[in-house]
Structure formats: structure tokens, C-alpha cells
Symmetry: none
Subunit: 426 residues, 2 copies
């Protein structure tokens, strides 16, 4: 089963945005057992859209289009589709209601132009978009399914997962591919490869496939098996994962779509612990990750982001003498920051970061990327040193993930469960 992705819009063609929608869709399609023939990014013009549709390869049975569905003048996808599918128009009452509701909720009168959003080609089935006003559309022609979705990533993802995938599964005979993703932090792709090399070689016997999916500070390992025969696939994957985990127990933190912040949140919630954070080089990013989890207010009390020496002494009682003697990027200051914020917010656990995010500020002793992470628990306070490389954005992300991993290990230690047991906590 082959699919093609077509992204519509000038913003990709002029390099103004990077096309992340396609990578996301490609991953999702792969997990459904659908392989991507090609990804095509084209202009927001009728001729470009028709041109792309005219040359869809013959063996492609699913075409996913994103972009060009907003209410404004430069969005002409819908019109181009109506013409290509030789279709008249209808007003979809559900979509109209949704558009009106969208504005009613915000207390804004609906601009007349938005009525157009409820106008869809007669020949399409509407795929509901409950997060925005532009609907998804499902067409069929010559045995191929064509799905058009808005380009706004969160709307596209929602329409695809909630409305399109169930229909795709029904309509197209899909192979049953089973995936299991194991999440790791704190080890690079090639080091990980060396550790699990022998285990990896054994996968071929059962036709299990492995993909390394690296991102800054984290590598996901995805196991896949084509379970057409039915039945054995789940079991095979389960056994392989059980054999893998002991090899990577220092790095593995969860499965599938979990994140370090969600795993930490789960542990804090389960054991009734509270958390505070003191951030210097990460500048609020660890707090942002923690609070991106809904329900985090039950365990997260607060943070102090202390970017200057004075802020560190005023908000966290860090010793001025230590700042002068050993500098802010030091074991002493990392420990005092963690202990200070734990004390300020009266929490069970606290973590801290202090380092040189770059690009400036490095010295021969403390080059850019030098980071101390502090941890304060009910029983001890300590700090560890890391080298995170020389890119500011990556440094901040890698430091945040490393801090959450250290926190995770301390929580596990305090409740006396093993690394492996902890992975299966719900």
C-alpha cells in the first residue's frame, strides 16, 4: 500500500517554514503499514494543484494533502479540488455550525468571509475538525482516496488521527503492523547501537524490524512486525522488548508516546510527591515541560528562574562568596539552587540547572555546554556535571531532559522500585 503526501502553500517553497507536517504524517502512515512513495510540496495555485494530482503514481492508493484551506484569499485549494474532481458545491450545516460556534465562544462577530468555510465540494465527505474552522475533506477517484486537511499542524494532526485514520482502516485493506517504541535518554545513537548490537542481530529470525529515531538528547527505538498471520506478533514483540530492557535500563524511561515530563508527572502523582525547580541556563524550559502536562498543578509548586548572580542570592539564598569564588556554573551553586528552591516552596524534590548555554560565555575551564544539574531529595542533595555541546537550543533541551531523567531515578530510588519495574507503572 503506497501513499503520497502533497503539501500546498508558498511558505514552504520560499523556505519560510520547514515542512514538519510531512515528517509527522510519514511517521503515522508508516505505523499503519503504509509506505510513502513521495512527498510533493507545491504552490498555492490551481495549476500547481491540478498538475500534482494529474501525476499521482498509478500504484498510489492514498493521497494526503495539507495546506491551503483557510478563509483568506491566498487559499484556493478547495476550489482547485472541486474543479479537479468535477464537483459542484454544497454548504455543510455541521461545518457552518462549527464555524459560528468558533466565533461565538470567543465573543467575536463572525466575519462574512468565514461562511465560505462551510462551502465544500459536493463530491467530498467532510472530516470533522473540532479544533478549527477549516474542515477536512475525503474524495475518491479511480480507486484512490484523496484527503485534504488544513496546514495548521495541530488541526491537521487532529483531523488525521481522529477522523481520517478510522476511515482509512475501513476503506483500505491494511496490513496489521505492530509497533513498540522504547524511549531512551542520555545516550547517543551509535553508543546505543554498540550496546544492543547482538540483540539487534537476533531480530531477523522473527522478521522484527528496528528503527533508531534520534532527536536532541533522546533516541527512540521502534520495533515493528508485520502481523498478517495474526496472533504471534504481540508475543514476539513483547519477548524482544523484555530482552532489550535490561541492556538499556540506565537510559530507558518509557514507551510509545510518553515523554520524560509525563513519566515524571506520573511518578510524582502516584507517590504523592511535590516538585520545585531552580533554573539558570535552561531559563524556564524545564518548568515549561513540566507544566505542559495537564494536571501538573497537583505536584508542581513552582520554580525560580535565576539568570543573574543577584537573582540567585535574592531568590534562592545562594552564597555570594561561592558565586565569587567558584562561579555560578559549579557544583556548589547547583546544589544550593536545588536546596534553596526546595526550601522556598517546601517540596519533596527539587532540581536545578546552571551552565553555559552559549554561544557566548565559554572559558577554557568551562567551555560552552558545561552544565551542572543539582538534585535535592528528602534525604540528600547532590550535583552532577555534563558536557552538552555547543548549540544553545540543543543545550537547553538536552539539559532539561537530563535533569528530568535524574529526578526520575531519584523518585524511583526513594520508593524502592527498580528501573525496569518503574517502566511498567501506569
Amino acid at each position: 500500500m503506497k501513499a503520497q503526501i502533497i503539501t500546498i502553500g508558498d511558505e514552504i517553497l520560499i523556505g519560510q517554514i520547514v515542512d514538519t507536517n510531512s515528517a509527522w504524517l510519514a511517521t503515522e502512515l508508516n505505523s499503519l503499514g503504509i509506505s510513502i512513495d513521495s512527498i510533493f510540496s507545491i504552490a498555492d495555485t490551481r495549476s500547481a494543484i491540478h498538475g500534482a494530482l494529474d501525476i499521482v503514481p498509478k500504484d498510489v492508493r492514498l493521497v494526503l494533502m495539507t495546506g491551503g484551506l483557510g478563509p483568506t484569499k491566498d487559499d484556493i485549494t478547495k476550489d482547485a479540488l472541486a474543479r479537479w474532481f468535477d464537483s459542484g458545491w454544497k454548504v455543510d450545516p455541521k461545518v457552518l455550525e462549527r464555524v459560528k460556534e468558533h466565533f461565538r465562544l470567543r465573543g467575536i462577530p463572525m466575519p462574512e468571509v468565514n461562511v465560505n468555510q462551510a462551502r465544500v465540494p459536493e463530491k467530498c465527505e467532510v472530516l470533522t475538525n473540532s479544533l478549527g474552522s477549516a474542515p477536512g475533506m475525503w474524495f475518491e477517484k479511480n480507486g484512490c482516496v484523496f484527503i485534504s486537511m488544513p496546514g495548521v499542524p495541530f488541526e491537521m494532526k487532529h483531523i488525521f488521527s481522529d477522523a481520517a485514520v478510522p476511515e482509512i482502516k475501513k476503506k483500505l485493506k491494511l496490513q496489521n503492523i505492530i509497533h513498540r517504541t522504547i524511549l531512551t535518554q542520555g545516550i547517543g545513537e551509535s553508543s546505543l547501537m554498540e550496546i544492543i548490537n547482538e540483540w539487534e542481530d537476533g531480530l531477523a529470525i522473527d522478521n522484527v524490524k528496528l528503527a533508531y529515531l534520534p532527536s536532541p538528547g533522546a533516541v527512540r527505538l521502534r520495533l515493528s512486525i508485520n502481523d498478517e498471520s495474526g496472533g504471534k506478533g504481540q508475543e514476539i514483540i513483547h519477548d524482544r522488548v523484555e530482552a532489550l530492557l535490561p541492556l538499556i535500563k540506565d537510559y530507558a524511561f518509557g514507551f510509545q508516546r510518553e515523554t520524560l515530563e509525563s513519566v515524571v508527572g506520573k511518578l510524582l502523582t502516584r507517590y504523592g510527591y511535590t516538585l520545585a525547580i531552580a533554573e539558570s541556563c535552561t531559563g524556564g524550559y524545564i518548568s515549561h515541560l513540566i507544566t505542559s502536562i495537564s494536571g501538573s498543578s497537583s505536584y508542581f509548586m513552582g520554580s525560580a528562574v535565576t539568570y543573574s548572580y543577584e537573582a540567585k542570592t535574592r531568590a534562592l539564598d545562594v552564597s555570594q562568596a561561592d558565586l565569587n569564588d567558584v562561579g555560578a556554573v559549579s557544583e556548589e551553586v547547583a546544589k544550593q539552587m536545588a536546596a534553596g528552591v526546595r526550601d522556598l516552596y517546601k517540596t519533596d524534590f527539587a532540581i536545578s540547572s546552571t551552565g553555559i548555554a552559549g554561544p557566548g560565555g565559554g572559558t577554557p575551564d568551562k567551555p560552552v555546554g558545561t552544565v551542572w544539574i543539582g538534585v535535592a531529595t528528602p534525604t540528600e542533595t547532590f550535583a552532577l556535571k555534563f558536557s552538552m555541546g555547543d548549540k544553545r537550543e540543543r543545550n537547553i533541551r538536552k539539559t532539561a531532559l537530563q535533569a528530568l531523567q535524574l529526578l526520575r531515578k531519584e523518585i524511583i530510588k526513594s520508593v524502592k522500585i527498580s528501573e525496569l519495574e518503574s517502566l511498567y507503572l501506569k
Copy 2:
């Protein structure tokens, strides 16, 4: 002058990597006045490569290919190109020398397979790659130039800029396309459209094109003109922008690739002001944005992220009585948070956020999305109420941008420059 970009390699098609090469090339080509017809990502197979080359649109005069030029088995681009251009082979002595040098410098014996890298199709001109062993190749056929480059970003960028661009300029008569992007915050795409409708209608006279590029909480407006006649384009765009700005002065905050955090940083730096932040519902995200700017340590002192009532009273001296009487999501508390953090870190300006990010926590009085943003300046403290909708992630982002916009306006007010003047500050 139109170009097409073709990226070759399975890693994009399975979603393993996001295609950033194309965005980079597109930006470079646009700045040369070359517009991109389309971007095509295809598999690493001869048939896919031939298929893509067979359907290059007739008006495309430049095709840039990236990927598939390494020494390993799955890289078959070079072979596919030799066949498509109906070419024999040659060994390029310069490339061979470079490949040998590459290994000599690293003190590694050259694997025999790498000799193949010096083998290139007879019909190509070699584009020197001084950062790696895979050469760039320049072909011509039917009045179209085809350039093949390796997929490793830094090698590709180097070959393109240093070897390809000078040849492209010589060979092809280039148009001059001029872009200008105006950035707005605090107004939706369709409302913006109504405000500038009349102005927009007038663009056609000069063949100026407008694109709306929305993202949560912000809309970019991009003007483009094909400056073929030479000279007038800059002037036309300038005049159009000058006519637009007064219409959107409450929302516009910058141009091109600026961000609200970079604009605020620029203003704080220029006027020697300092900033502190108190965050509740944004949970550290405003601080993260501010500190994502390198050099922010010169104006950003610190933040208090106070997620609980107790954190607000302990860290920021918020009145317990007010928390009990009117709740955390209130004008009083937003003001006290801003004033409290300004006092704690002794800064010139402070902003605060307190709201219901969702999805839980809403009440009839204060539905999800209700947010108060506080601002404390050297002369006053106030708070404003907003409704940000019902999606947690978007709420956080929109609230952060709104807070930065309010801060920006207060800084401008305090130094007595107008909204329009401020846009041109360097």
C-alpha cells in the same frame, strides 16, 4: 526563472528526519530571484529518481538534487544520473586526490569502496566539495541545469554557495524577487483581512502579492514582487508597507525573521532596562522564550513560576486574603504577581500571567482560556483580561505572546516613541 528541488532518500519518507535542506535551499534560491516550482522528496531507487526527472515541469530551468551520494550501497543516485543523462564514466583526478586526502588527514587507510567516489558521469562538470568526499555534479540537458549534491547539510550548503551559485549566476538570467514580511500579534487571520481589505485590493496594480502566514497567536503578512524591470521593486514594496503599518499598528511588532522575544530583547538592550517575570498559567514558557535569545542575560534577571497559592504568597508576597476572596485568576493577583517579582528582582519592568490553561479547571465564571496578564513598569502596575480559547498548548503560547506584546508597548511608551517608529529600531 523556476527551479525544482528533489531530495533523495528514505529517511525523509519514513519521517525519520525533517527535510531542512529544502527550506534552506528555497530561501537561498528566493534571494537569488529564483522561485521554486515544487519540492519533491523521493526514495533512493533508480526508478524513483528517473521518475522524478522525467516529470520535471517544462518551465523549470534549474533542478537541485540533494542526497544519495555517499559511498554505501543504498546510495545509487550517481548511477541513476549517469543512465538518465545517457553518460559514460570518468575518474576525476581532483576528486580522487580529495578523497585520498580526506582519509590521510584522519590517519585512516582509504577503504577501496571510496575510490568509487571519484568515478563520475562523463557528461557532468564536478562541483568541488572541500568539506567531504562526495562531489557535487552539474549536468545540462534541454536548456535545463541539473545539480546533484550530497545530503549532509553542511556539505550541501558549502557546495551550493561556493561552487554552484557562481555558475548559476553566470549561466542563467535571473529575475529579482523581493519579499518583505510584516509580523503581527493579537489578531486573527480573518479579522486582519477585514482591516486591510481595501489596502490588499490595491496591491494588484503593481503586481504585489500578499500571503497570510498564521501560527497560534501570530500572523505574518508577506509581500512579494517580481522586480524584473529592476529598481522600482524595493520602492513599491516600501511604499506598500508604509501604507499598511498605520492600519495594523496595534498588532505589528516587527519584520522578516524577528520574534516578539527578539524585539523585546532589542528594546530592553537599547534602553538599558531590566526584566523579571512571574508566571502561573504559562508555567515558565515566557521565561523560556526570553532566554532562548542569546545575550538575554544582560536584561533578564529572573522569574518566579508560582503554580500554587502557597508559592504565590511565599515567593511573590501575593495577598492570601485576595487569593481566598477573588481567586488566583484575577486582576488583583495578576497585579500583585507583577509587582512582587519586579520587587524581588529589582527590575525596571515585570510581566505576569495567571489563568486557566485547561483542559480542566474551568468554571462558569472563569472558563478555560480565561487569562489575566499583569504589567509592572517604573510608573504603574495594571492587568488586562483575555480569552485564549480552550487548548492548553495554544493557550500557553498565545498568553506568552500577548504578555510580550504588552511589555513591548509599555517599553515604547516609557521611552516616548510611537508604535510605528519602534518598528524601525535597529
